[in-house]
């Protein structure tokens, strides 16, 4: 009797191990300067204490995808292990003169532009290797851009979960309702990655959508 019971037990544990293993590889996507790295840093720091990627007000700061594996998030009574990929900002155009306007020397601006084009390609390649994405948008900007539409469209075509993060809610011009209106079919969490506001709501949503 007890042998059967323990067999049953083991079976249940095994089933849970195979099917209940909540591990997901999540890409952080969005246009340049939306706050992707600020958010990635916050998530990784909140749950594993590590400091990660560089942040700048100059667009295309991240030009190589940055991967942090094994970040365990506990929210809403469940736990999920995430491999987080912070991707370079996606764009349809890159002009080195834009970087010079931020005060970079011509040489450096040109190098940054070249690396940024490679970064966009890398971000696109990563789309094929993910279980879901956080699409980060700057709530002060028009959400209806080609990059956002393309990322949303690709997630829908692949039937992968997508969570929209309406970032920079601390800014007076933030209008997350515009994002809701543009993409009504997807869940949205409004946060400030910089100040950490509403970040717990984001963790609950992550556990729910990717768990």
């Amino acid at each position: 009797m007890s042998v059967i019971r323990s067999l049953k037990m083991n079976f249940a544990v095994w089933i849970k191990w195979i099917f209940g293993k909540k591990r997901a590889r999540i890409g952080i996507y969005g246009p340049p300067n939306a706050g992707k790295t600020t958010l990635a840093n916050r998530i990784v720091k909140d749950w594993s204490g590590i400091e990660t990627g560089g942040i700048s007000h100059i667009p295309h700061e991240t030009r190589r995808a940055m991967r942090t594996d094994g970040v365990i998030i506990n929210a809403n009574g469940s736990s999920i292990e995430l491999d987080i990929v912070d991707t370079p900002g996606m764009a349809t155009k890159i002009d080195f003169r834009e970087f010079m306007a931020y005060g970079l020397e011509e040489e450096e601006a040109k190098r940054r532009a070249k690396e940024a084009t490679e970064g966009v390609i890398e971000a696109i390649k990563w789309l094929e290797n993910l279980d879901g994405i956080l699409l980060v948008m700057d709530s002060t900007e028009d959400p209806y851009t080609q990059v956002n539409v393309t990322v949303v469209g690709n997630m829908e075509a692949r039937k992968l979960p997508l969570l929209i993060v309406a970032n920079k809610m601390d800014l007076p011009k933030a209008a997350p309702s515009r994002i809701k209106a543009a993409f009504p079919q997807h869940p949205i969490v409004t946060i400030s990655a910089l100040e950490g506001s509403n970040i717990d709501d984001l963790y609950v949503a992550i556990a729910r959508h990717f768990g």
């Binding site: 996606m90 764009a91 349809t92 155009k93 890159i94 002009d95 080195f96 040109k110 532009a113 070249k114 084009t117 490679e118 966009v120 390609i121 696109i124 789309l127 209806y144 080609q146 990059v147 539409v149 393309t150 949303v152 469209g153 690709n154 829908e156 075509a157």
Partner: protein, 115 residues
């Protein structure tokens, strides 16, 4: 401005479409696609654009389009159509398209000459 008809687009492979669009836009033309690209084609177009960017010559593209609409109507189901519809798309060289008005039913784009 070059209009590419839905009929012509339907007869082309994804790669042919992307190459045609990029070659026109690189020559400074604005391309209007009567029927838009699929999300996969859009992302491929962005990727190809990145490989074509050259300092001082070509700094990329501007695209205005609408999300894919999934119209699984009764008629489409009977006719066995996939129901995936894409809307009109305007593509031009970077910094030449400026959308003045865009809603669910229309795109009007202002074309500015020069910078």
């Amino acid at each position: 401005m070059d209009l590419i008809s839905a009929e012509r687009l339907e007869s082309m492979s994804s790669m042919e479409k992307i190459r045609l669009i990029l070659s026109k836009v690189k020559r400074g033309n604005i391309v209007v696609l009567e029927m838009g690209l699929t999300p996969e084609e859009e992302v491929k177009l962005i990727e190809m654009t990145m490989t074509e960017i050259r300092l001082d010559e070509f700094s990329g593209i501007e695209i205005e389009s609408y999300p894919v609409k999934n119209e699984s109507t009764f008629l489409n189901k009977i006719l066995g159509k996939s129901g995936i519809k894409t809307r009109m798309t305007v593509i031009g060289p970077a910094n030449q398209l400026r959308t003045i008005e865009k809603d669910k039913y229309q795109i009007s784009t202002k074309v500015s000459v020069g910078d």
